[in-house]
Amino acid sequence: MEAVHTLINHYNYVITIFLMVGGLYIVIARGNMVKKLVGLSIFQTSVYLLFISPAKILGGTAPILDPAYSVYSNPLPHVLILTAIVVGVATIALGLALTVRINEAYGTIDEDEVLEKDPEP
């Protein structure tokens, strides 16, 4: 009963960890490069949730100052995650450009087929 109670209180952390593990599993276990990049982006967004969940104050509002409200959520993690989102899209763009070049060189984007055509020394 204690474990179920803890689960409900920490439900968003449980889902965040599930997303993190799911994204990591997609990156490791699947060979298709586009799918690996999608898994990487899932991993990154789970880290955003992990950072922003502790910043919320129940009963507070968004950190835009207004005379009608007095309790605001912490703005500092929002700033860090804004930078992280933009760096994430830069990573995905470069990864997709590399995928297009690999496809032109080997004719396939699957990691196993590329390793067959060009085995490591």
Binding site: T6, V14, I15, I17, F18, L19, M20, V21, Y25, A29, R30, N32, V34, K35, V38, G39, I42, T45, Y48, L49, I52, P54, A55, K56, I57, L58, G59, G60, A62, P63, I64, L65, S73, N74, P75, P77, V79, L82, T83, I85, V86, V89, A90, T91, I92, A93, L94, L96, A97, T99, V100, R101, N103, E104, A105, G107, T108, I109, D110, D112
Partner: protein, 172 residues
């Protein structure tokens, strides 16, 4: 609560889906769900950025790549045991770490003690800007934003170096 459960369902669907077009559309759905969860957590600037960049730009780039490569995944033939074990170990370690986090939404967690309240109090009198996220991003911590702009610049230069020019007619 339902939004978080839908997120988990979408991730499982991305894992099982073998058509790349379906994977890309599901990742767009995933970005929109993350943006909705972020609004529920009072992070409005971050939600706007995630919706426009994740479900806008990232989706367009993935679809442009699918236009240039073939669009289905071969059947995975390697054993799944080692990746599953690695993922399980990582998950267990992170679960053990988050058990000691303060309860969700409490106003006297240590994160709200140091610099956050100072920025919230002093933002209007020092910078005249009510949106504290913008004033911290562009004034108090503007050096980090310079680094971020340089990262976007580098990504643009990198993609232009890789993809400028026509495809060589010899390759497919």
């Amino acid at each position: 609560m339902t939004l978080l459960t839908m997120l988990a369902v979408v991730v499982i669907a991305i894992l099982r889906q073998r058509s790349l077009f379906g994977v890309v559309i599901l990742s767009g759905i995933y970005s929109f769900l993350i943006a909705s969860v972020l609004i529920a957590l009072d992070a409005v600037d971050v939600a706007l950025t995630e919706a426009s960049v994740g479900a806008g730009m990232s989706l367009v780039l993935l679809l442009s790549t699918l236009h240039l490569v073939k669009t289905s995944e071969i059947k995975p033939w390697r054993s799944n045991l080692l990746p599953l074990a690695t993922a399980f170990v990582v998950g267990a370690a992170v679960v053990w770490a988050t058990l000691s986090l303060p309860p969700f939404g409490s106003p006297d967690a240590p994160i709200h003690k140091h610099v956050g309240p100072r920025y919230l109090q002093k933002s209007i009198e020092e910078t005249g800007v009510p949106n504290v996220v913008t004033s911290v991003l562009a004034d108090y911590r503007s050096f980090d934003t310079l680094g971020e702009t340089t990262v976007i610049f580098t990504a643009g230069i990198g993609v232009m170096l890789l993809l400028r020019g026509r495809r060589k007619r010899g390759a497919k």
